[in-house]
Symmetry: C2
Subunit: 339 residues, 2 copies
């Protein structure tokens, strides 16, 4: 294991002076404590010689600040969360903060564990895309006056800052677009649970179809390791589907691979729109129409809100709910072949 770092006690022993004196000098309180200039010079010279570095962990115990932010995402390998994480980390670093992160895979218990571990490590604030079931844990952070910013989804019973997109309108708008292109049997294939973003996306899809008296065709997917079987079964059993809206990039990535393997042509047989833009969708032939989230803006709002709270000690800042707007990026996958 690591050699023992030189501590204040070591310095005091080596110079044969008191630990308190060393501590006052290193913390810039020599003048206040009427310590002689000679003594200050002696200590600082020695410290420079031996290359002592103040222990920020000990400092964090004294000040209660760790300059660390806990980031809890669903899955760091998902391009949506990876891109947000990159931007948040970049902006945090420029403001002197480090990021401790974890992926939840929507596992409630893991998320609870991580919140506790982060709390024990004295993170200064939290950025969380919460699974269900962690309301109490987050409420308890807020009771302790810890800054918490939720993103991607929020918890309806918890009053805290959050940054999300207008999921309901975005799904409504994408579905409307498909109807406008002449599609009549529009399915929604989506990861489904009680998280706000997924509930809202389903609602938006339903609203658009209701408006036009069209039938709903919803395939709800579990948050499973492999979605191949359930999507394949759905696409095989439902004849006549002419368009699919995918609720997340993960659902669509599976869906498109399965369409290829089943010989379903996009858009000739089935038109496709997916939530979340990515290189995979842009590179696909034809390129996939997407509901693009404003990732840069989301990261900017998240970090700005959090830093504001950290810098003002949360005093006088009301919680903010930021709802950003998505872009429907229309590409070849949602346009009917010309007849």
């Amino acid at each position: 294991m690591s050699k023992k770092r030189l501590s204040i006690v070591d310095i005091a022993n080596n110079l044969n002076i008191s630990k308190t004196t060393v501590s006052f000098i290193l913390n810039g309180r020599a003048k206040e404590k009427r310590i002689s200039t000679d003594m200050v010079e002696k200590v600082l010279k020695y410290v420079k010689e031996v290359g002592y570095k103040p222990n920020s962990l000990a400092k964090s115990l004294r000040t209660g600040k760790s300059n660390t932010i806990g980031l809890i995402v669903e899955d760091i390998s998902n391009p949506f969360f990876g891109s947000i994480a990159r931007l948040i980390e970049d902006k945090a670093y420029k403001n002197g903060y480090k990021i401790i992160y974890c992926s939840t895979y929507n596992d409630t218990q893991k998320t609870k564990d991580m919140i506790n571990m982060f709390r024990d490590r004295h993170v200064d604030g939290y950025i969380i895309a919460p699974p269900q079931g962690v309301e109490e844990d987050i409420a308890s952070l807020i009771t302790e006056s810890m800054p918490v910013v939720l993103f991607d989804r929020y918890l309806p019973t918890i009053d805290t800052d959050y940054v999300v997109v207008n999921n309901q309108f975005s799904a409504y708008n994408a579905t409307q677009y498909l109807v406008g292109q002449g599609y009549k049997n529009i399915a929604l294939i989506t990861f489904a649970n009680d998280q706000t973003q997924m509930v809202d996306r389903i609602k938006g899809y339903q609203m658009a179809l209701k408006e036009h008296g069209l039938k709903q065709l919803i395939k709800e997917l579990p948050f499973a390791e492999d979605l191949t079987e359930s999507i394949t079964a759905f696409l095989k059993s439902r004849k006549g589907i002419d368009a699919v809206l995918f609720g997340t990039n993960r659902d669509a990535t599976y869906g498109i691979k399965i369409m290829h393997s089943l010989g379903i042509r996009i858009p000739e047989d089935i038109a496709v729109i997916s939530f979340d833009d990515s290189d995979a969708f842009e590179l696909h032939s034809p390129p996939i129409t997407t509901v693009a989230q404003p990732i840069e803006d989301m990261a900017e709002h998240i970090i700005t809100i959090l830093l504001d709270k950290l810098n003002n000690n949360g005093v006088g800042t009301k919680n903010q709910s930021i709802v950003l707007h998505t872009d429907l990026v229309v590409r070849g996958s949602s346009q009917p072949a010309k007849k």
Copy 2:
């Protein structure tokens, strides 16, 4: 800011007993210190009532262990690093470790800063995909007997554990495959610097071409925000290229988008192979042939080596250099159109 956590001092004051007594009881040393059972019960009862949680930060100062691993990647939003990070974090969590991470973007100064910050936070070990110029910093970690595992690339002058793939053979093999398919003007478009993985990929490409007496066509890219201009200029100026090997997934993602926009057909006009597999390459029409790195194996080796060192306090464990083999995943992008 957060309300003050209840400390051992608070408990001692509230119960009107000494801080040392509380500390001995909470650290399970009551018997050893001959503290009465009554006193132990009194303290534990009180602690339960007020919901005191032991401060792991303070504990980490005592024990020197933080159960935190510092992970330093090039770019968390890159699918290669995102996937590795997910697997490492998952395996670390199952072994009771958390991950603090940062992206370097190959910025030497940022990497130095982060190593120092991680050291100040008492991380127990480091997993690093190092940029150049951090040799001294890593050597100094090793001098302090800190476990350090490098991955993706290594530092030739530093003796530490690392996990990489056989980059030279992989590039040689991919280029050989293109030659075997009948291509004669094979370009290498690649992020280029002195990092071992990039040097080896270039060498492998050169070896294959030399073997067949074919001309080298290398476009070295900087690690820039946007690669559009430099790749476009290269593809426009070099007539007669019939195949391209891309050195990284990032280079290929740009390259393929640019080929689309220039009307270059894959593989009819130019065949394509890229390092690093991803959904984007699998979904592309035609799907892109890739040199797939064994990400799961890499993560497994990295975390196993690190945990071994942590558990054995590094005693008796020699450094390991793990060189894993890639797979050439042959798809439609590298097969000449039938004539």
